[in-house]
Symmetry: D2
Subunit: 421 residues, 4 copies
């Protein structure tokens, strides 16, 4: 791997995390809104811990850990790396202060930079792939920073904004999303899973064959306008539309709209504060139950992950996006019409009906990073694509995201599928 | 469908439920040991309610419901059929008395018998498939009766037996299960799902193609002796062997052995009361987490449901078992050695790594029975095969059983799989 | 103590427990409706265990325990007497069967009878007080049998009756309770606590002085009609009437009426099944929060236990009631008008504002029975009087009953108090 | 009331709250360690809200609320003052920032100062008692700030200190507390409750007579050394020493020592960080269950609140303490020997066996402040005295503090009592 290219990438990714935290106060960064979310400060520390523990300590001669106690505080879930602070208590840590965590980042960054620039050849070669893994890992946490901040701010009665509202657009936006069109795929023997030499997580491989029956996919995700029609048609009150667990979830919580929607006043809580719901934008913050109920109502179904990936492979690649600016990490935009599959990876993650399972021949990475993906392969569903909150360049068609069926705080929506007619 | 054959089958299946309840008192039949289990009395009522509601009331002219209030009490989960008594409160129903529920059964049986024998042709033809569904449904509850009674009795400090202990065997049993052998399957394009004209549940179809990489399956389920070796090797104390949710489950409950095992005194609680554990018998009452951890420890993995079914199809059919006597519904027997896949469906259900999802082209049945399977297709794992507690003739290679990953009160074990070497 | 009198009393009390169970099936007797309640079968066993463990085993030479395992099953809360079956799991015991528990009772009764009739003088003298304690203890459980059965049956959608409805009364009942009158008490230095040589529980002594400011008590408990007026006046929706914990309890449960009331249809669930609410009968199944909120609404307060007892001492004793028949254990009757304090102990227990604390100089009994009362003296409130469900002759003015503030399944109501004007 | 004296007091009390927060960062001030505790920022806001809502808005013409939304955020439990942010979610408020809350304080302080100095006579007279109540209220929250910070920091694996450790004392401290001596009180008719014209909370009155049997009180609170002896004697493993609820609490939590004690390494977590336990210092952070179990073990009992107050009245008043410096709010000091009752109110609050109930003739204050005390009068126990964390001059012998029996995060200990021999 080219050292100077890796160095530039390292600097860019690490800087982006700081940029995400920049609009936030130390108080904002310390709080934890629920056990599933983490304080921003913890994300900033944990992503540094990852480099310190997996790259610097084992591979960089003479590296001294910033603070030995951080090994306990910032381990997320690696059993092989020792005991750790319980996840639901991450929000009880007023110390280390944010300033100290930023010092920690600088300490790690300086050591990483020196290592990438001037580390011994053998050590660098042994560690380069782990550095890349660390960067990909940090990008995943960048998306979590955005989603976790949104969740925290949404619970504040003051309904504070992460960023200031957008200036009003010059031209009127379309009232509705572009027409929903069905694209046909003939199925047959397909190959899915990561191919080529670029980075991929272990759970994306090995590439392997799957047999697909002919199917159709919608050209774009379901829009807010369409989802409002579902609500207006009694969608949340009709058990026949729901999976059994989903109906129990609706009943237990008295749920009547996706997360962050306030249909009674037509408002949507966003990272720019509350604003009127836009029928044209993709429906977002749906969980699997809502996605599946909507599909049932629409006479459709969720795609499988293999259907999604096989179709996405056939899609001409979008021009590689220039690095997203911070201001783009806020809400899925209405789709611009066009041919093919729209908004594959830049609006909302798309629920599949596929349980998150290992591919045939799956082997976790060796060592502690073997815990990265494999041990979560039960009881969750695969999400495909990417979202407005995904860092630029992070995702690809073989990317497998996964969450529990009831989770709603990610930028998750639904692209419909059908059997071929 | 032949009326007289259906009638004989109806009588046999309905009688078997009563035979299962026969060793139990009214008190035994009234209690509910946990929200997931139901009282035997409820099972006896619910299976009658199924016939009354889905066969007799809509199709049998002049049928009068035994008690209108039973529609509420004995509905399990059919939203289309109105409100229902909450599942966790089934154990609060001392009334109707067991005797009254047995009257209910007789009332339903008499009406069904008359309908099958002498119902108008059109009505009979419309209802015959539902009657068969009702019988298959009742057989599923027969297995639940056995597992739920076992769970209830196990919680009683008196450790009561459902049936008297077996007479000591004349000849000494083998100390260990037959040698574990790996059978190779070449994979490729296979067809799975129900074929032919016999009964199958909707979730077994449609038959469809899948692509399989070459794989191996163990000739028999893991034995208690093998599982004891896992325990002795620290299996329950080594996080690297476990799925993440599984390790959390072990930690939260201080789990150290499968359900009903008491390794400290070498005893196993069975339906014949406590007795010494037999190293040769299949390990039973494992949940998915334990099954997967054992497989990891053994350098293997769980099969997918497609691997399992493709292999089972290739297996020469066992001679159709003569109806199992009651006394056989008690515990999985040690395997008798032989060629091929042993104990496919008569010892323990076998966990697969496959999430319970719809097959391509899956369509639920029309009407209320459409809720039978489809709405549960999320968050559970598929079990394949059958168990010692499955009624004779009930299962087939395409059969898809499913339970949550943490469930242990079914007769569940593990057959190992590996990628082809 | 006179042996023959004790024997007659023993036979009468023990027979009354059986009479209470007589209208119930074995199924009715096996179920447990909530952790706070116990199955009737357990009450029948536990009261026998009390005699076996505290009287027969230590004092009756040659006594053989009926079943050694019952020591574990039927111990309620005596730490000094070894481990015990967890209270919330009493409803999981289908074995021993009711018939076996009745055998247990006969075994214990026979041994007790022989001991009382012919036990050695020294042993009898040592045990006589414990036998009396056992009888008083059994009478307490007789009231619990009634309240626990009522709770269980109330949860059954069939709304079954313990006894058949009463024949319609010949003459029309009064539409309202007798007028509420205030009786004045001048306070000063009073003595409360048990006096004399009759039986009393340890928590009723020692008799001691208390200083009371002048106060007033209502001549009768609050009636259902009065409580309906409170409800109609928004009683359950006005936080200013409630203790803080009480308001939280109302909010959390959406409470809008006392237990067993169905104000929407004017029905009351009783041990004779549902029937129209009678404005004249005492309001029953109130918890402390409801009692205190009602008092606040009525411009009054709850009495202290010392006020209650000092007033009750001044009351001319009612003619000792002849033994209540079973049929009287059902619901508090409307008060018959008259002078003085009406329905002191035969309608509803009366909540006091007094926390349940030891009296000055309180000493628990020696030995295991020292756990009878003392260890519960925190976090509960004292109830005074007695109820329609209290066995005849069981209570007295110094009697101290106690329950947590939120409990409603006892026959509990409220007698208002005020400071002297 | 003298305006200038009130003004000085206002300034001193308000300044003390800020002094308490001074060693803390904004992050420290934002976190909530448990539902029972509040963030320091919330305490600072709430105490200002109290003045704004109850003094300035109703009495100070022209006062403008700092931010109308704070009425919702900073209401604690006053139903009469409208809806409020749920207590368990106080730790989710990163906004308003600490700096903004400090602005809020300055805004309120300025308005209060002007009002006290120059408010119209009538308005001032109407509000003066509420200002004093607000100051007493703020002092109560000052103690909570200390206890809540201690709880929060204790949960941090870094075990951070609120203040730096003390310099080592010049002279060796005593190894043990002064000898425990029993002081005798003859009881009889006593008067308790607040007397005189100084400030008192409504729950301290009216003054009234009580009858006391002769009793004894220990001259000082139980020491850590004595409590260690209790632990060493199996105190936490002997059910006979515990109240029933207390034993359940011990069992459920595996409790083996008071809060903040780490007997395995002899360390105590304090506001100056962990340090060795000192046998001479008062045992602190006991709940009622631990206090009562210790008393039982020591052949003693808890005092009643009347016994405590009657004895305290007889005690010659200590010289009024000069204002405590911040550094004293940290941990109870070992008692200095001397005559009479030592450490009545400057070391640890002392549990009584008295349930928190209204005094005879109790009347809550009129208006919203009537919710201050009265609505909590059920299910808690009275604590008497005062603690090292109580602000100087805040307590008096009639002061009634109260907490649930299981609470341990206050500075609570035990002074033993006995019946007169």
């Amino acid at each position: 791997m080219d050292r100077s290219r890796l160095l530039r990438r390292l600097q860019a990714v690490r800087a982006h995390s700081l940029a995400l935290a920049q609009p936030l106060s130390a108080e904002d960064c310390a709080l934890q809104s629920m056990p599933d979310a983490s304080p921003v400060k913890w994300h900033l520390g944990h992503t540094s811990w990852f480099f310190e523990t997996l790259v610097l300590s084992p591979h960089c001669a003479g590296y001294r850990a910033f603070d030995a106690r951080f090994a306990y505080l910032f381990n997320s879930y690696y059993e092989a790396l020792g005991p750790r602070h319980p996840r639901p208590q991450r929000g009880l840590l007023s110390r280390p202060a944010l300033a100290e965590v930023l010092d920690y980042r600088r300490h790690v960054d300086a050591a990483l930079q020196e290592f990438v620039e001037a580390g011994a050849e053998e050590a660098f070669n042994a560690a380069a792939a782990l550095i890349e893994l660390g960067l990909q890992h940090e990008q995943q946490h960048q998306e979590l920073i955005v989603t976790d901040v949104k969740h925290l701010l949404s619970l504040n009665p003051l309904q504070p904004a992460y960023l200031a509202p957008e200036a009003a657009p010059a031209a009127a936006a379309a009232a509705e999303a572009p027409p929903l069109r069905w694209l046909d795929f003939e199925g047959g023997l397909a190959e899915i899973g990561h191919a080529g030499t670029g980075f991929a997580f272990d759970n994306e491989g090995p590439r392997h064959r799957v047999w697909l029956e002919p199917y159709r996919l919608a050209n774009r995700p379901v829009s807010c306008g369409e989802f409002l029609d579902f609500i207006a048609d009694g969608g949340y009150r009709r058990p026949e539309l729901w999976l059994s667990d989903g109906w129990a979830w609706v009943q237990a919580g008295g749920v009547a709209a996706p997360a962050y929607w306030h249909p009674q006043d037509g408002l949507l809580f966003t990272l720019r504060g509350p604003r009127p719901l836009d029928r044209a934008e993709p429906a977002c913050h749906l969980n699997l139950y809502e996605a599946a109920a909507y599909a049932q109502w629409a006479g459709a179904r969720l795609p499988t992950e293999a259907e999604w990936e096989a179709a996405a492979q056939a899609q001409p690649a979008a021009a590689a996006p220039a690095g997203k600016s911070l201001a783009e990490h806020l809400h899925p935009r209405p789709a611009a019409d066009g041919p093919g599959l729209l908004q594959l990876d830049d609006a909302v993650w798309q629920w599949t009906r596929s349980g998150y399972e290992p591919y045939p021949g799956f082997q976790p990475l060796a060592g502690a990073v073997g815990e990265y993906n494999g041990k979560f392969m039960v009881g969750q569903n695969v999400l495909r694509g990417g979202s407005c909150a995904s860092p630029a360049g992070h995702v690809r068609p073989s990317y497998r995201n996964f969450f529990p069926a009831a989770a709603r705080w990610q930028f998750t929506g639904v692209r419909l599928a059908r059997d071929a007619p």
